[in-house]
């Protein structure tokens, strides 16, 4: 019976070490676990595939470095798909560090697309404080909300901004979000108030909350949830990257955690039975 008692008192540092090794090894040696594309991710992909070349979409970078491992791969995969289909991207940020996240993603992707030009195919309008109020204001007067791009140049100088006065000429809105302000605020204003199709990607923590908006009302067209959502999107655009590689490590870590949950439960029920018999 001592073994069951030991199950209940495993040193947490042993678990940390095993998780560390379990995550590190698959990053070095790829295991290649199977990955299936879920309906919510497919819907986002289909929405972008259905847009005409030249259509402008808005991507809001509502996250920072703390959630970069989960969300940056989504940004890269979405940009890959957009530039492949000649869809033009207007980027903004509701989080201050979102501007840098956007620049990093664009720098990485644009290296593979030499024809992509800043101001024609892509623009980064920078950060604006205010969250939901800012989104509401953009929907009524886009230019007064973002009179310049992130570099301080007037937006009128850029062909991509021609005719953009509100959300009317945007194909859809995508929010890559790690919290508030983020995807929920875009759903509330861009879709529920102004009827614009909205989709996005979130951290895994946020995903169960946002999944409720992927419904019959199409409040969200689709959703990329956490690293898995990003990996599925990389699979769809056929550009396996950080998320795909990370899913191997993710799976191994989950197996280790499940094993320890089982060990803990076996120990708990076995010792409880023993206590009842003693009583």
């Amino acid at each position: 019976m001592k073994i069951f008692e030991r199950f209940l008192h495993i040193d947490r540092r042993i678990i940390f070490v095993l998780i560390f090794i379990g995550v590190a090894l698959p990053l070095i040696w790829t295991l290649g676990f199977n990955l299936e594309v879920t309906e919510n991710v497919q819907s986002v992909y289909d929405l972008l595939e259905g847009l005409e070349p030249g259509t402008r979409i808005l991507i809001s970078f509502d996250y920072g470095p703390s959630t970069k491992p989960e969300i940056q791969p989504m940004a890269i995969a979405l940009m890959e798909q957009a530039f492949t289909n000649r869809i033009r991207i207007i980027a903004i940020a509701l989080w201050p560090m979102g501007v840098q996240m956007c620049n990093e993603a664009f720098e990485k992707v644009s290296a593979e697309y030499p024809n992509i030009e800043y101001g024609i195919d892509f623009i980064n309008l920078g950060y604006k404080v205010g969250g939901m109020v800012t989104i509401n204001h953009m929907a009524k007067d886009f230019r007064s909300t973002f009179p310049t791009d992130a570099g301080g140049n007037p937006v009128d100088e850029f062909p991509i901004m021609k005719g953009i006065k509100n959300f009317d000429k945007l194909g859809c809105v995508i929010s890559l979000s790690a919290g508030d302000p983020g995807l929920k605020q875009w759903v509330m204003i861009a879709h529920d108030t102004f009827g614009k199709p909205v989709c996005g990607g979130t951290t895994a923590v946020q995903a169960p909350i946002m999944l409720a908006y992927v419904n019959e009302q199409q409040q969200l067209v689709g959703l990329l949830g956490g690293l898995k959502g990003a990996a599925e999107y990389e699979l769809l655009v056929n550009k396996p990257g950080f998320a795909t590689k990370g899913m191997d490590a993710q799976s191994v870590a989950h197996i280790i955690i499940i094993i320890f949950i089982l060990i803990g439960n076996i120990g708990y029920f076995a010792t409880r039975k023993q206590d009842i018999m003693k009583a």
């Binding site: 995550v23 990053l27 970069k68 939901m132 509401n136 929920k184 529920d192 951290t203 490590a249 993710q250």
Partner: protein
Amino acid sequence: MEILMHRIGIWIGVFLTFAIFSFLYKDNPFYKIAEQIFIGISAGYWFIYTIYNILIPNLFVPVTTDLAHNFLLLIPAFLGILMLCRLIPSIDWVSRYALAVVVGTTAGLFFKSYLQSDVLNQLTATIINPFASGNAAQIIGELILIIGTLTGIIYFFFSKKHEGAFGTTARVGIYFLMISFGAAFGYTVMSRISLLIGRLNFLLGDWLGIIKP
């Protein structure tokens, strides 16, 4: 020079990463140092960021360059000064006026949006004909959606004692809630592991060069 600075940056990142991870063994001075550096840099960064990216472009520049068209900005500026009065104990009560404006306007602005998105649209999305699709899996899914929503709402109805048929329905609601908590926990684990993957990618890729970052 640029490469050298890049390498120094990576080594600082490595030191801070290990300093933070060391807390998993036990609390120690290295963890404390990393924690204090993080707090200090965050405070300094936000202070400067607020001045240069919020106050200067949104208040100081418009007011100093074209006051006639931007005089309304003086109202939020004044409210902001009132808010800073919290720092002076003898007149800290003045900040309540600014706070009252923030609370009032936020409540007013958000009320309609939240009602529309979180109540009306969510409710409409649940009022569906579950048998319309003809697909067995979809029918089961939509029935679960309807039953889960109704029983979940019943669980949170506390004006009637949870007994008999009402109690049984509420109990079903609890099961749905527990399943949703389990799903949320699973997603949270996934999220935290993703952050660890990010850090290990930095250590194994940017620092050691074992993998391609």
